[in-house]
Amino acid sequence: MDSHIQVKNLNVYYGKQQALKNINIEIPKNQITTIMGPSGCGKTTLLKTFNRFFELTEDTSLTGEVLVDGKNIYDKDVDVTEVRKVVGLLAQRPSPLPMSIYENIAYGMHIHKMKKDRSEYKAAVRHYLEIAGLWDEVQKRLHDPATSLSIGQQQRLCLARGLAVEPEIILGDEPTSALDPISSQNIESRLIELKQQYTTVIVTHTLRQAKRLADYVIYMYLGEVIEAGPAKEVFSNPKHERTRQYLEGQF
């Protein structure tokens, strides 16, 4: 397996409480990996270690390694802003920046100084809005506030905004849980289209969504990884008793 993210002996603590226990997993390149498990099992915490977001919570500590392309993102010589440029995040609820639709997409490219002039920015904004399937809906109102969009459109805007800084990995923290069914489906089909070019890791607690999206599955319980493997194998023939119970809906 060609792995993009490798997690080695990862332990995470909130104060004295251990949230993740000795995690060792590999996440395959250019596939969709879903992290499943009951509430409070550490799914989101694990996801947040991939873009160093868990550091934003006070009083947290970590041992072990998270390697992206073989480089530990917690090494002293790695800058957190570069990590977050390479590892994008699609949050649970869309949260557009207090700017116009256009500026929302251009913001990330601006701070990373990724384009040379206005016309390049314009073209890039259009490109990423098209990828997110939003261009046709917003092309005539690019300078309206981002909040004038519906929630579903806002989440696609956030996807476009994330892609605009040219990440290699997309993290999704239950990215459809705040959306209506049609908008959810829309986001899901974008993610499937994009998986050729991006390594995608999605936390979900709906089993059906995991089955629709996943190429690779990680099942967690009480801060530990119980089982990880290709989706087909895990769904049809789980090796572990707990995974089987979860898949059968006994939780």
């Binding site: 977001f53 440029k85 207090p98 981002a146 994330g162």
Partner: protein
């Protein structure tokens, strides 16, 4: 049956009616006081409010003169409060952003907030005395510059704390969204926090301006008073609050009436500024996330 607990609900409704009455009385007292202030200023000031008042400088001295106007004080106050506000903004915006971005609710953050609150509470006459003592030490005379600096001192804690309270209400999701794109904390502060909080920051600035333009005690010692229109930062300047003060202190009823006219002009300026700020923050609100 629980639907028929008449005594119980009667008492609760009585309580509500009673509290509502108290709230209305309070509102009436406050609104009445405001109305009375405006009424007195208008009734006494309006007869003396002529075109000359706002276009000419005093003739025959500000204390005794019955002709001419108070253009010197209008322009002086605009310079004093405008300059003081500008200077205070230059310092308060960085302090407020630093408080939010790097100090947060830490011990140092609490200390800074406490000292700003103490500074806010210090009476302006004390600022005036402090400024005067400082000026004597460095051999500076009463001047527009000294007045601007001391007004900046008075406005700074008000603006900073008002901004701080606004900025603290910044939604955390918004910050995270910007951080997730690889922003530094500074970029979040500069490009996202200020954008989101622009209406609140504008209000804070105008709060400071309002305090600055109306303050008499601090400019009394530091800016002095003169009948001329200020032309240099190093020369004394007149101001509206002191124009009110001196003219009301005059033994001549005609001059006293001119004091009320000056008060009316000052009130109109403050009113115009606060209405303008309302309009401005409504416009700046366009992009903020609610």
């Amino acid at each position: 049956m629980s639907l028929l607990r008449k005594k119980h609900w009667q008492r609760r409704h009585l309580m509500e009616t009673f509290m509502k009455f108290i709230m209305r009385v309070s509102l009436f007292i406050v609104a009445g006081a405001l109305g009375l202030i405006l009424w007195i200023v208008i009734v006494r000031g309006l007869p003396s409010l002529s075109w000359d008042m706002v276009t000419k400088i005093p003739e025959g001295g500000y204390y005794m003169g019955k002709v001419g106007g108070i253009l010197n004080a209008i322009i002086g106050s605009a310079y004093l409060a405008g300059g003081g506000t500008l200077l205070a903004v230059l310092f308060s915006v960085p302090i407020a952003l630093y408080l939010k971005t790097y100090l947060g609710d830490s011990k140092w953050g609490q200390y800074v907030r406490l000292s700003l609150d103490v500074l806010w509470g210090i009476p302006s006459i004390v600022y005036g005395a402090f400024g005067f003592a400082l000026m004597i030490t460095i051999g500076m005379r009463a001047s527009l510059l000294a007045g601007i600096i001391i007004l900046a001192f008075i406005e700074l804690p008000i603006m900073t704390r008002a901004m701080d309270e606004v900025i603290r209400r910044m939604p955390v999701d918004l910050e995270h969204a910007a951080l997730a794109l690889g922003s530094t904390k500074f970029e979040v502060a500069l490009r996202v926090v200020t954008r989101q909080m622009l209406p609140g920051i504008t209000t804070a600035i105008l709060l400071g301006f309002g305090r600055g333009i109306g303050d008499a005690a601090s400019v009394l010692f530091t800016a002095g008073y003169t009948d001329r229109i200020p032309t240099s930062l190093m020369r004394p300047t007149a101001s509206l609050p002191l124009a009110v003060f001196f003219q009301l202190g005059s033994p001549y009823p005609e001059v006293q009436q001119r004091g009320y006219a000056a008060a009316l002009i000052l009130t109109i300026i403050v009113l115009a500024v606060s209405l303008g700020s309302r309009w401005l923050s409504a416009r700046l609100n366009k992009y903020t996330i609610k």
